[in-house]
Every structure is written in structure tokens, then in C-alpha cells.
Symmetry: C2
Subunit: 191 residues, 2 copies
DNA sequence: TCGAAGTCTTGGCGCTGTCAAGATACGCCG
DNA sequence: CGGCGTATCTTGACAGCGCCAAGACTTCGA
């Protein structure tokens, strides 16, 4: 079977486009992403992406949904292994660092099709993986459990975004997971 | 003196362009911002903005610098008035809510000219307004003061971004400042 | 085997940011 | 007060972009 240099059907163009997009977003951010450039890199015509994603928003929506699913799977795995809410927070930051392109798109509804059913389902999955582990957390009496969850979420989300955008002072060190473990220690200490 | 409908010189085109940009960013985000559209709204030719800002990055850089300056002034005023690190954090969220367009650009070095001297100076100002108030904060013995500052920063920064992007559950209420005051209560409670 | 559905290409439209060159108004220095 | 340098703005053009419509090719099922 000879090697076809460029067959008419790509094989898995959808996957190839997502991967090329992830690489471009990780390098330059989602703002300058170009569908035509992706098509060129993958070796198809400039209008091929439209068939799989409709438009640019559709591509980014697919990426965000994939990110939510992977994050949910990571976080639940960590909680099942450690039983620790703190380690779930650390894993949140770890996901952001390991999958910066997914993370850069996931919380940006202005770039997405917010009503996409696949996106909504994946989003719900990831929310559950965050809100679930807070159930067993020891808290000061009278503390609202949901607010405690959002406090933890805010801290790790803020840390992840500040880190990814290069806004953290260098003195904190180079290991974001260690920083997260450290900072989260300031939360939920009994009065 | 008759009213000139469109004099050759605008008067304060720089200010007018920034204001139009702030409005557009607050509405649609920085991704879809169009210099030509701004020029049309303000009533000048499509190439006029280039003279004041060089390019799109220059405009966003000017907006970010303005945001840093205003935030620094807000935060130091609040600290001088209340002496409370917690209230500085609340004011951080308040600034983000009151100036969403500035905030949307300030921490996005991919959209800015990171070496711009005006931007660097304004950034340093705002960092000082955040790191200063942590000096007098009562902490558990042995706690790193800088890390405590970053923990607080992460929490309010995460909360602000999650709120602005519409990612917070509605049950938390409609007043972001109140939410911030609430969530920050989980921080720095003595062991 | 043949047709329908899926996949990709070609061509074109209006929009964008940016550059180059020229027109106009302001302000300073004589 | 007059003229000129300079800052400000306009006009025109170019390549690249997202998206749409129409057509070519391939695969698969009836």
C-alpha cells in the first residue's frame, strides 16, 4: 500500500484541527487563532474546518468541552485517591498548567457557544467534581458549605490564571502545584 | 462661532478613542475590538487611531496602564480609610466590577506591549498598593507574608474573573462586594 | 450497482490591521 | 504679525481573515 501524500479524505481531520488549535492557543492565545492557518498546517483547504465545527466559535466550544471533561476526570481521580479537598485544588492548578490551551478557553463564554449541549454537559461534570469533595470538609460551625467551595475555587482559579498569564512574582518558585498547596493552607483553618 | 460638524482636528481624539474602546470591550470583550469601528464611532478616518497608539496593541496597553493607575489609587484610598487588608481585597473586586473593560485587559500580557514604560510604572504602582497593606496583617507564626499576600490576591482575582465571565452560581447573590467580603472570611483565620 | 450522504475544494465577498503618501491646522519663532 | 515646522488627520492600497455558495470527490448503504 503506497503512501498517499494527501488523500482527499484526511482520516481524522476533526482531531487534527483540534490538536493544531491547542498548539497555537498554547503559544499565542486564542485571540490570534486563525482557521485558515490551522487548515494550512494540517494540509487541507481553507474552508475544510467549517464542515466540522461550523465556525471558529464551534471549534473553541469543542475544545472547551473537551477541557471540562478531562478536568472532571482528573479531579475525581485525585479525590478518589487522596480524599483531600486541598489536593483537588492542587489538581485544578495542575490541570491548568498541563493543559493551558484548554484552560484558556474554558471560562470564556464570550468565545463559546454557551448553549451547546455537549459543552453544558461537560461543564456540569466539572462543576460536580469540584463541589462534590467539599461535602466532607471540616468547617467552622455555621459556615456555608457552598461558599466555602467557591472560596477554594476562587483561590485556585485566581492562582492558575495569574500564573498562566505570567503575573506572579518569580520569588514564589517555579512549581505551581507546590505554590497552590502552600497558598491553600491559608484557607479553612479553624478559628 | 458656528458649530463645525466635523473639524479637521478632533480635540481630544486619544481620550475619545479610549472611551469608545472601553465601551466596546465592556460589551463584547477585547477579542472582537475593531479599530476601524472605533474610528467610525468617533467620526474620524480609519487610520487616525494609528497616529495616537501605533497599533491595536498600543491602544490596549494605554487602557491597561490607565487601569493599573486607577486601581492603585482606589486600593490605597481604601486602605488609608479602613486600615483593613480584607477591605482592600473587597475593593479589588469592586474595581473589577466597576471597570470591567480595564480589568479585562490589565492581566493579559498577550494583548499588551509588556515593555511599555508607562505600563510598567503603573503596574508597579498597583502591586505596591496590594503588597503594602499585608504588612500589618496578623498571621499564624512562621507564615510567609508575601505568600499570604498572593493567597489573598489569588482569591479576589479568581472571584473577580469568575464573576465577570459569568461563571459563578447565581445562588451566591448579586452583590460581588458582599460575596468577596464573605469568601475572604475563610482566609487567615488563626489555627 | 447506483444513489444519497458525508467530506473536502474552489472561488468570492466584505471586513480587518497596517503601511505609505498627501492634505490640513496649530503653534512657535522670527 | 507672518511664515514655517510639526503634529494631526485623510485617502488609498494590500494582504489576510471568517464565512458563504457551489461544485468535486469519496464512502457507504439500499
Amino acid at each position: 500500500m503506497p503512501i498517499e501524500p494527501r488523500p482527499y479524505h484526511h482520516g481524522d481531520l476533526r482531531r487534527a484541527l483540534i490538536d493544531a488549535a491547542l498548539e497555537a492557543i498554547a503559544r499565542d492565545g486564542p485571540a490570534t487563532l486563525s482557521l485558515r492557518d490551522l487548515a494550512r498546517r494540517v494540509g487541507v483547504s481553507h474552508a475544510a474546518p467549517a464542515h466540522h465545527f461550523g465556525d471558529k466559535t464551534g471549534l473553541l466550544t469543542a475544545i472547551a468541552a473537551e477541557g471540562y471533561r478531562r478536568m472532571a476526570s482528573d479531579l475525581t481521580a485525585v479525590f478518589e485517591r487522596t480524599g483531600s479537598f486541598l489536593e483537588v485544588g492542587v489538581a485544578y492548578v495542575g490541570f491548568a498548567v498541563d493543559h493551558p490551551a484548554h484552560f484558556a478557553v474554558m471560562f470564556r463564554p464570550d468565545l463559546l457557544r454557551p448553549t451547546d449541549p455537549e459543552l453544558l454537559a461537560a461543564n456540569a461534570e466539572s462543576r460536580a467534581s469540584l463541589y462534590g469533595p467539599v461535602e466532607g470538609l471540616p468547617l467552622p460551625p455555621g459556615a456555608d458549605r457552598r461558599r466555602a467551595a467557591v472560596a477554594g475555587w476562587s483561590l485556585v482559579h485566581g492562582l492558575a490564571t495569574l500564573y498562566l498569564d505570567g503575573n506572579l512574582p518569580a520569588e514564589l518558585g517555579a512549581d505551581p502545584r507546590a505554590i497552590a498547596r502552600d497558598l491553600a493552607g491559608f484557607l479553612f483553618t479553624r478559628r
